[in-house]
Symmetry: C2
Subunit: 520 residues, 2 copies
C-alpha cells in the first residue's frame, strides 16, 4: 500500500520541538505542548485527555521538551494519544481486527512504514457460549451474559495482541490505534451493547454508526488513548464486515459497476460503483459453508478444494489443502465437484444422479442415493467420503438462491449482467472458488473469467485500509450512508426466477453460453 | 438572573419525540435518538458516550421513545448527558463550586428556573495535610500524596453534594453539570494534576486552560457524563478564582474602566474594561486575613467587624458578627479600628500610638505597646483583646502595598484614579469592609463611596454565571486570554511609592481630600 496525495493519515506522528519554560515564557505544560503539536499539524483544535495531562509534567521534563507526539483526528479535532522521547526508533503500530463469529484475525502494522508486520488468528472465545450468533444473543440476555461475552472477547484479544507485540519486541504503549470489522452482533458484543433487539422484529441494532472510542473505554491493553474505529453497520443484517469488504474491493472508486458477494449462511450481495451502492442479503443455505453435505467442512488441512472428473473414465481426481488424505469437502470443492458431475453427465440438469453414468459409484444408504467420491482406502477418515442426492439438492437451492438474488438486484437497478466490470468474491470461499465451476452450475453469471476477483479476508483488508488513510476511514461512513438496502421480497416473481435457476446451469441456456456439456 | 437573548444555555434540556421502530424504519436506537435530539437543537454534531449508548436500548423502550434529553455543548458539538422519561417533574440541576484553599462552597441551582436552591460550605479536607498552598504542594510530592489530596477532596465533595441533593429530594443523576472556580493549585489538586512546578521557578502550571471533563473522569457522584467546567488560570499565581471574580463583576461588559481587588495573603488586582484587562498580584501581608494581629481572625461569629471611637471620650464601640461577645477581629474590623484610632488621634500619621491620647488604655507587655480594645470583662475569650504596635505596623505595610500596587498598575496603563468608575472588592473581606475606613487609612483611593462595590463570594458567583449561560462560559476564556499580567517589579520607583504610602492616609494628603482628622 502506497501513500497517495489523498491518503492522508488520521493517526500520525508529529515531531515536537517545544520552547523550554523560562520566566519570560511560563506557559503551562499542556498549552506549551499544544503549541508544539500545532506547529506540526496546522490545526487550531488539539485535545489532550486528562489521563495524558496528568503524565505531562514528568514526561515533558524527562524528554527535555523534545520528541514525538502521536495524534489522531476525529471530526476535525486532533487528539493526543502518546508522546515519545526523541529517537524512539521502534516506531508506532496499529492493529486491524477481523471480528468473525467463529474466528478472529488480528493484523499488526507499522504506522510509519504502512507495512504488515505479522498476523494471528484464533477462535472467537465466545464460541464457548454459542457457536452461532443467535445463541450468543440469547446468552447475552441472561444475567451478566452480555458482560461475560464482552470480557471474554476483550481478555482473549488482550492475550493475543500481547503475545503478538511481545514477539516483535513492541511495547503495548506503542500500539496507537485499532480498527475492528465484524457483523452487527459481533461489534455490539465487542462494545458491550445489548444485541437483544437485533434478532427481534423490527430488528433494531443499538447503534449503526459507532463513534470512535478510546481503547481504555473497553479495557484494551494498548495505549489507553488509542482510538478504536469500529466499522458501522447498515442494519441488523448488514454489518461492518460487509462495509469492510466494499472498502477493500475499491468498487466505490470505479466508474464501472461491480458486484461484491460474500457467501456464508447468508449470501450478501452488493452492486454499485462510485456513485451508488445497493445491497441485499438472502438465505443462501448452509450448503456452501460446509454445514449440510455429510462430507462438508470449512476449508482446512485435508479438505478437498478442487475436483476434476475425467469425462471418459469418470475417474474423480481430487486435490486437498496441504495435500493431506481427504477428510471432507469445502464449499468451493463442492461447487467444483457438482460442476464436474454435471459436465461428465453423472448428474442431469436438475442435479439428479444419472444412474447409467454413475453405476457402481452410486450406493443406496437407507433409501438415499450416495455417490462415493473417495473410497475408504483413500480417505483420511477411514470411511468413504460420499455425496448424497439431498446434498446436491441443497446446493442446487443455494446456487439458485444466489443467482436469483443477483438477478433480482441487478434487475432492480436496471443493470444487465454484461455491464458488470468486476465480480468480487469475499472470504475464504472467494479465495478457493473456481469461477468457471460456479458458472457451470449457474451460481454466478457467465462473465469472462477475469471479471471474477477473489478478495480473501476482505474484513481485515478493509480494516487495515481504514486505519492507514483518512480518506479510506471517511469512505467507510460514506459507504454506509450511501447503501440502499433492498429488502428481498419473496414474491411470485422471485419464486419464478428461483425455479428457473434450479437447473444446471439454468432453464435459459442462453444465459450461460460458455457452459458446454461434453456428454450427457 | 434572567435569560437575555445572548444568554443561551450550554447545558440544556431538549424534549424528545422519536419515531418508534418499525419494519419500515429500523434505524438503530442511537441514530434514532440523535435524530430526535437534532430536531430540538438544530445541530449536526451530537455525540453520545459509550456509557450512555449501553443504557439506551432499555431506557428508550422503558420511556416509550418519549422524554427529555439533557445535553451540553462543547466546541460546537452537543453531548448527551442523560435522558429522562416524560413528565419527570423534578427538573435538572447544576452545582457551582468555590474551591477555596480553606473553605469550599457548593451552590445547588435549578437549571430550568436558573434559581439557587441551596448552598453549603465546609472546610477543605486537604487542610488535614497542610493549611496553606505551599504545604499541600510539598505533600503532593510525597508518595501517593497527590492522589490522597485529590481523593480526600472528591470524597468530601461527594459527601456534601450528596447530602445537599438528598435534602431537596433530588436524584444524583439529575445533577447534570458542575463548574469549579479555585486558585491554580486548588484546581490542579481537584484534577489530580501535579502542582510541583507551580511554586518552583519559572512557576509552570500543568495546564492553563483545562478542557471540559466528564464527572466520571474524576469520580464525582453526579451524572457520570455531567460536564465539569474548571475555570482556567493565567499562571501559577493568577487562578480561576480571580477569573470568576472578573466574570462576576461584569467589568468586561463596561466601557468605563474598573478596578477589581481580591485581598488575601496576596492582593490581586485587575484593572480594565470591555476592551482590555491588566492584572497583577503582590504580597499584601497576612494582616488583612487575620493572620498576624494577635486578635486577628477570619470573619465569623463573635468577630469584630465594625469599630467606632468617640473622638471626645475615646470610647471604643465595637460590633461583632451575630452580636456575640467579641473573640477577635477580622481584616475589615481591623481597618475600621485603625482608621478610627487615626481619626481620634490615638495613632499618628506613621501609625504609631500617641501615648498622650491613649493613656491607660496602652499597656506595655514585654516592652511592646498594646492597646486594650476590649477589656477582659467584655471579652468572649476571658482575656482582653489587644492591638499591638507591631500589629499596626503590619497593617501599615499591607495597606501601603495595596495602594502601591493600585498606583503602579494604573500608572502602567496611564489611567488616573479619577477615571475609575467602579471598584469591586471580592470576598468576605469585600462584604465587610467599610470603604470610608479603608480610604481613611489610605489603603484604597479616595473615590466617591458609591464607586466601591462589594462582590461577596465572587468565585461562586462567577462559577454560577458560567454554568447558566454559554456567553458567560465563553467569557471565562475570553477573560483568561485577554489578561495582560503585569509582573510587579520591586524597583526603586516601587519602593518610593511604597514608602510614600506608609503614612496615614499618605504623604501626599492631596490624594485623600476626604480624609479629615478631627483632632490630633
Amino acid at each position: 500500500m502506497r501513500k497517495t496525495k489523498q491518503d492522508k493519515p488520521w493517526i500520525k506522528k508529529v515531531g515536537l520541538e517545544i520552547a523550554t519554560p523560562s520566566l519570560k515564557d511560563n506557559t503551562a505544560d499542556v498549552d506549551r505542548l499544544i503549541k508544539g503539536i500545532k506547529k506540526g499539524l496546522e490545526t487550531e483544535d488539539i485535545r489532550i485527555d486528562l489521563s495524558m495531562v496528568r503524565q505531562l509534567p514528568s514526561l515533558l521534563r524527562e524528554y527535555n521538551y523534545r520528541g514525538d507526539a502521536v495524534v489522531f483526528e476525529d471530526r476535525n479535532s486532533w487528539h493526543l494519544i502518546e508522546i515519545f522521547p526523541c529517537g524512539n526508533a521502534n516506531g508506532v503500530f496499529v492493529l486491524a481486527v477481523d471480528l468473525g463469529t467463529s474466528t478472529v484475525v488480528v493484523r499488526l502494522m507499522n504506522l510509519s512504514t504502512l507495512e504488515t508486520i505479522d498476523e494471528t488468528s484464533f477462535r472467537n472465545p465466545q464460541n464457548e457460549f454459542g457457536a452461532d450468533i443467535l445463541t450468543r444473543i440469547h446468552f447475552a440476555a441472561k444475567e451478566d451474559g452480555l458482560s461475560k461475552l464482552q470480557s471474554l472477547l476483550i481478555r482473549k484479544l488482550n492475550e493475543e495482541m500481547g503475545a503478538l507485540v511481545k514477539k516483535h519486541g513492541i511495547d503495548k504503549k506503542s500500539v496507537v490505534g485499532m480498527c475492528v470489522a465484524g457483523n452487527t452482533t459481533m461489534t455490539h458484543l465487542f462494545l458491550g451493547l445489548d444485541p437483544y433487539w437485533i434478532c427481534r422484529e423490527p430488528y433494531i441494532p443499538v447503534i449503526n454508526r459507532p463513534a470512535l472510542i478510546l481503547s481504555s473505554e473497553i479495557g484494551l491493553a494498548i495505549s489507553p488513548r488509542a482510538p478504536i474505529l469500529v466499522f458501522p453497520n447498515v442494519g441488523s443484517y448488514f454489518g461492518g464486515d460487509l462495509i469492510a469488504g466494499i472498502l477493500a474491493s475499491g468498487m466505490i472508486q470505479q466508474k464501472e459497476v461491480s458486484f461484491l458477494v460474500d457467501v456464508g449462511t447468508n449470501a450478501e450481495v452488493v452492486i454499485g460503483n462510485r456513485d451508488w451502492l445497493m445491497a441485499c442479503a438472502g438465505a443462501a443455505g448452509p450448503a456452501l459453508e460446509g454445514g449440510v453435505a455429510s462430507m462438508g467442512m470449512m476449508a482446512g488441512p485435508g479438505v478437498i478444494d478442487r475436483v476434476t472428473i475425467d469425462s471418459e473414465t469418470l475417474e474423480i481426481r481430487i486435490r486437498t489443502i496441504e495435500n493431506l488424505p481427504p477428510v471432507g469437502i469445502c464449499g468451493s470443492g463442492l461447487i467444483d465437484l457438482v460442476a464436474q458431475l454435471f459436465l461428465s453427465g453423472m448428474i442431469d440438469l436438475r442435479g439428479k444422479y444419472v444412474e447409467a453414468r454413475c453405476r457402481d459409484r452410486l450406493q443406496d444408504i437407507e433409501g438415499i442415493k450416495h455417490l462415493i467420491v473417495v473410497s475408504y482406502e483413500d480417505s483420511g477418515t477411514g470411511k468413504p467420503l460420499t455425496l448424497s442426492q439431498p446434498d446436491i439438492d441443497s446446493l442446487m437451492r443455494s446456487k439458485a438462491a444466489m443467482y436469483t438474488i443477483l438477478t433480482t438486484i441487478s434487475n432492480t437497478v436496471n443493470i444487465h449482467m454484461s455491464e458488470i466490470s468486476r465480480f468480487y468474491i469475499a472470504g475464504t470461499f472467494g479465495s478457493y472458488i473456481q469461477p468457471h465451476s460456479a458458472i457451470t452450475i449457474g451460481m454466478i453469471p457467465d462473465l469472462p473469467l477475469d471479471t471474477y476477483v477473489p478478495l480473501g479476508n476482505s474484513s481485515i483488508k478493509g480494516a487495515s485500509k481504514a486505519l492507514l488513510s483518512a480518506r479510506a476511514r471517511d469512505d467507510v461512513f460514506r459507504i454506509r450512508d450511501r447503501i440502499t438496502y433492498l429488502e428481498l421480497n419473496v414474491n411470485q416473481e422471485f419464486m419464478n426466477l428461483f425455479s428457473a435457476a434450479k437447473f444446471i446451469p439454468h432453464t435459459d441456456r442462453s444465459l450461460f453460453p460458455s457452459v458446454k456439456v461434453s456428454s450427457s
